[in-house]
């Protein structure tokens, strides 16, 4: 995997470190309090691995989240990063504010399907259209866990609750929505797919724009039964994978041959390469309309479609569009934020 081994300085070999000299332990979080087997825990592990492997400075990462089981998870990865467990459905605005304050930060926003698709849909859609540099992850299990198993707005039509109640409303496809609204890297994965999710997270870290990853993450307590469309069993039986996703970080000079006929290679903003070996003919991840059509087909067929649906590494991001100075606004010196007396004098003169 994408790590380089630093020569240990001492006589005894030290632990393996990444390109900025940190061990994987430097990326760990607190002990999880979620249910054993919860898909969310697997996602936290993938985040730790990918951040470690990409050599992200933990102190430059921020982890805003909303409310719910998913939004608790920032406590379980990367304790050396600032977290902000905010209010229900409003993580996008908090994340936006923080990124305005300090453009040097890397932001991973963790949300759930309730936190995003119901109470948070307003802020979600506006976040997507701004193309703010953020990795937005929906840990999607189709139910409200903390309030004991009510349907969320991503629950599929006809999916069954433990109590036997059937969902009679269609789901909101957060990926289709994100693509339509302007997110620039959009995909769906499965918490149990180590390899795909890991590669997508690394591409997300390399991307400078809004990344929206919907990660189907079964709730072992409230939504893993027969009749649920978000159970481990259902996802395994119905998953359709668009591509075989792999990622070559910019700091690795390994160059594996690939066939341009069967593989789409996308060069990310930092020079990293996202490789998508087509498992479906003619899928073009830069074609928005095709992406939305394919997602609609998947719903009709009852498929759980995964892969990178859409990517555009070139679109201008929100911070660049605002034309703010390169230094973080948060720590600008007073001399740059309080104009001199002559400015006030000039304004007063105009008002006389």
């Amino acid at each position: 995997m994408g790590t380089t081994t630093v020569e240990p300085g001492a006589a005894t070999p030290g632990p393996k470190t990444n390109r900025i000299g940190l061990t994987v332990m430097d990326y760990k979080g607190g002990k999880t309090t979620l249910c054993a087997g919860c898909g969310h825990n697997a996602i936290s592990e993938r985040i730790i691995e990918s951040m470690y492997e990409m050599g992200v400075q933990p102190e430059l990462l921020i982890k805003p989240s909303g409310i719910g089981c998913s939004s608790k998870t920032p406590a379980y990865f990367m304790s050396r990063s600032h977290s902000f467990n905010a209010v229900h459905g409003r993580m996008p605005s908090v994340a936006t504010g923080a990124m305005l304050a300090n453009r040097k930060l890397v932001c991973i926003g963790v949300s759930g399907d309730g936190d995003t698709a119901s109470i948070g849909i307003g802020q979600f859609v506006h976040l997507m259209r701004r193309n703010l540099p953020i990795i937005y992850i929906i840990e999607d299990n189709g139910v409200y866990g903390l309030t004991k198993g009510q349907f969320s707005a991503t629950a599929d039509l006809g999916s069954k609750l433990k109590s036997g109640v059937l969902n009679d409303l269609p789901p909101i496809d957060t990926c289709a929505l994100a693509i339509q609204l302007g997110a620039t890297l959009v995909g769906r994965s499965f918490s149990g797919d180590k390899r795909q999710l890991g590669a997508m997270l690394k591409a997300a870290i390399a991307h400078k724009g809004t990344v929206m990853l919907d990660v189907v993450s079964p709730c072992v307590t409230f939504n893993d039964h027969e009749g649920s469309t978000k159970s481990y069993k259902y996802v395994k039986e119905h998953e359709e994978t668009l591509q075989d996703v792999s990622f070559v970080p910019h700091f690795e000079d390994i160059d594996v041959e690939y066939d341009p006929g069967t593989t789409t290679e996308v060069t990310m903003h930092d020079g990293s390469r996202l490789r998508l070996r087509k498992l479906e003919e003619d899928y073009d991840p830069t074609d928005k309309i095709r992406a939305i059509t394919r997602l609609t087909e998947a719903h009709d067929k009852g498929e759980v479609l995964t892969g990178v649906f859409y990517v555009n590494p070139e679109a201008p991001n929100f911070i660049d569009m605002l034309n703010v100075v390169d230094q973080p606004l948060a720590t600008l010196p007073d001399s740059m934020t309080r104009p001199g007396k002559e400015v006030l004098d000039a304004v007063m003169e105009e008002l006389r």
Partner: protein, 612 residues
């Protein structure tokens, strides 16, 4: 040409009968969207340039174009710039309201009207002047489509002539108003001149009101409170502004955008600020909190409905302890209420905005000067106390033009509060975010992006202990809430102190705040001059209430708390703070009509309660 529509009667003051100099209110009734704002501003400025203290109040509809709007200019040699109830001179430009406006005048007032309206038939106890506007404007404005906009400038010239405002000052004001548009300036000047000349030649001055040159405005500026606040925020070092348009706060941010674009561009041509129009007020305050958490000086501006929407986030900021400044340009509620009218109706809801035991710091600017000076104070307090600070302005202050001394450059340094740097962490080894190290209830924080293994902490709106760890323990919760209370108590000694003005051996105290100040100061003179009633006056400038407020109540037999809402909100808030035996001294003069509170209403109510 009919110039004398009503035979002048002795009682209405013939020429030389009575002379009232530099003390009058002029009301201009127009249709919104007709360019009347420019004409009104020119008239206001012309009087100001004559050296006469003046204020302008716009009473406008919640509408784009076509509905009635009234602009009141008060000129007063004593410097009273609050609203005056009585209208002395009506400029009736709006056919829809002309009859009602005329009928509501007190005897002796003057009416200037468009000739076809024939208002002179309505009453015989007023002074009427008629002007054939369409004829005059056609002569100076060949382009028919511009006539509607220029027509209003004609009345400026007529009023100038009738009230003896010098035409040279009108010209100067027009040149200033249309500084960058030479053609528009010339056209408007021609219109004003046509009005002036017409009046000189055809109208016989009969009213008692005169503007005469004096020297009470030299060096002064004219500005609205929202622009003053925008300037204040720029000089406060604000770096992140988020907003959602809402009357009457929008112009604060819009003006700020203009100023910041001009004066806050770094050497590389890039902005030292970010201003973002959010999707709603929830997002606006969420962004303020995110930015404040990450170390920016962040703010938003809103009005009552926005404040209501911000409630949940306000509690988060209180409990997570994040700085931010919220400008509330208060308008009339409940609900949508009267969006274009003024009030002081958000006091109680803002003090305790959010669920649980949330308490918020509030500042109460009364003038454009304070809109400016309280901005850096608000940002300093927010960062010192790691909490939201609400600046409670209102529509009257925010959107109307006020005369003021020029603002003084802020001398208080920018205070970023207790923020630990990497070097601090090297020295300390670590920190506990919510530990009361200094005994003032204020913990130390770090900013994201501080490269130190011990820098990070977990911010959460759920229960937490000193180390910012999740906790549902009863003792952790209670200790934390007590510390937050200690922090609020500390704030009492740091917020702006009240302004106290003493009368002569007064037994009665008046407490007021915000724009009620202007009615109160004038009312105190009325009470002294007309009723020989001495009063002391305390003007609140902040919540939590400082020591001086309690002392003031203790020193007086009766306290009248004057405010612009129905339910005596500030009085209620003060009651919670006072010793129980003192609360009986409080009496309420609470008025809300949507119009700025006038002195006479205060005087009448106070004297009636005093049995006078």
């Amino acid at each position: 040409m009919a110039t004398t529509d009503v035979v002048p009667r002795e009682s209405t003051g013939g020429p030389g009968h009575k002379r009232i100099v530099n003390d009058m209110s002029i009301q201009v009734a127009t249709v919104n969207g007709s360019g009347s704002q420019s004409s009104n501003t020119v008239l206001l400025r012309s009087i100001f340039q004559m050296g006469v203290p003046v204020s302008g109040k716009n009473m406008f509809p919640s509408n784009i174009a076509g509905l009635p709007t009234w602009y009141t200019i008060r000129a007063n040699k004593n410097g009273y710039i609050g609203r005056k109830k009585e209208i002395d001179f009506l400029v009736a430009m709006n056919p829809e309201t002309a009859v009602e406006d005329t009928m509501s005048l007190a005897p002796g007032a003057a009416v200037l009207y468009d000739e076809p309206l024939a208002l002179h038939k309505l009453r015989d106890d007023l002074i009427f002047y008629s002007v054939p506007y369409d004829k005059l404007v056609a002569a100076v404005c060949p382009e028919a489509k511009l006539r509607k906009l220029v027509k209003n400038m004609v009345y400026v010239g007529v009023v100038a002539s009738l009230l003896t405002v010098e035409m040279a000052e009108v010209e100067k004001a027009i040149r200033k108003q249309f500084a960058t548009k030479m053609k528009a300036a010339n056209l408007n000047l021609a219109a004003a001149q046509a009005g002036f000349d017409y009046a000189k030649a055809n109208l016989q001055k009969r009213g008692a009101f005169y503007i005469e040159r004096m020297n009470a405005t030299a060096g002064k500026i004219i500005i609205d409170g929202n622009s003053a606040a925008a300037l204040g925020c720029m000089f406060a070092g604000c770096t992140v502004v988020t907003w959602y348009p809402i009357t009457p706060s929008s112009s604060l941010v819009e003006t700020m955008i203009e100023y910041m674009k001009e004066y806050r561009i770094g050497p590389d041509g890039k902005a030292t600020f970010a201003i973002v129009q959010a999707e709603d007020e929830l997002a606006a305050i969420g962004m303020v909190i995110g930015a404040g958490w990450a170390g920016a000086r962040s703010m938003t501006a809103t009005a009552g409905p926005g404040i209501s929407l911000m409630s949940e986030f306000a509690g988060l900021a209180y409990y997570v302890e994040v700085p931010g400044v919220i400008w509330d340009i208060q308008r009339v509620g409940p609900s949508t209420g009267l969006p274009t009218r003024t009030s002081q109706g958000d006091i109680l809801s803002t003090a305790f905005l959010s669920h649980g035991d949330t308490k918020n710091i509030m500042l109460f600017p009364c003038s454009v000067t304070e809109c400016f000076s309280m901005a850096p104070e608000a940002f300093n307090l927010a960062e010192q106390f790691q909490t939201l600070v609400f600046v409670m302005s209102d529509l009257d202050l925010g959107m109307n033009n006020w005369m003021s001394d020029p603002f003084e450059y802020p001398t208080t340094p920018i205070n970023r509060g207790k923020v630990l740097s990497k070097e601090d962490l090297d020295r300390l080894g670590g920190f506990a975010r919510y530990k009361d190290v200094d005994g003032d209830g204020i913990g130390y924080r770090t900013l994201p992006g501080t490269i130190h293994p011990a820098a990070a902490y977990f911010s959460r709106g759920s229960g937490h202990n000193e180390k910012a760890q999740y906790s549902e323990r009863a003792d952790d919760f209670e200790n934390n809430m007590e510390r937050l209370n200690r922090k609020f108590e500390t704030a009492r000694s740091f917020v702006p102190r009240p302004e106290i003005t003493k009368g002569n051996n007064a037994k009665i105290g008046i407490i007021g705040y915000g724009t009620s100040h202007w009615g109160i100061t004038e009312s105190r003179d009325q009470l002294r001059d007309e009723y020989h009633l001495e009063t002391d006056y305390l003007r609140l400038r902040a919540y939590p209430f400082t020591r001086e407020v309690h002392e003031f109540v203790e020193q007086h037999d009766r306290i009248y708390l004057v405010e612009q809402n129905r339910d005596a909100q500030m009085l209620t808030l003060l009651k919670l703070d006072l010793k129980p035996e003192l609360t009986t001294r409080l009496r309420s003069i609470a008025h809300i009509t949507g119009l700025p509170l006038d002195a006479r209403s205060i005087t009448d109510e106070l004297t009636s309660m005093e049995g006078k």
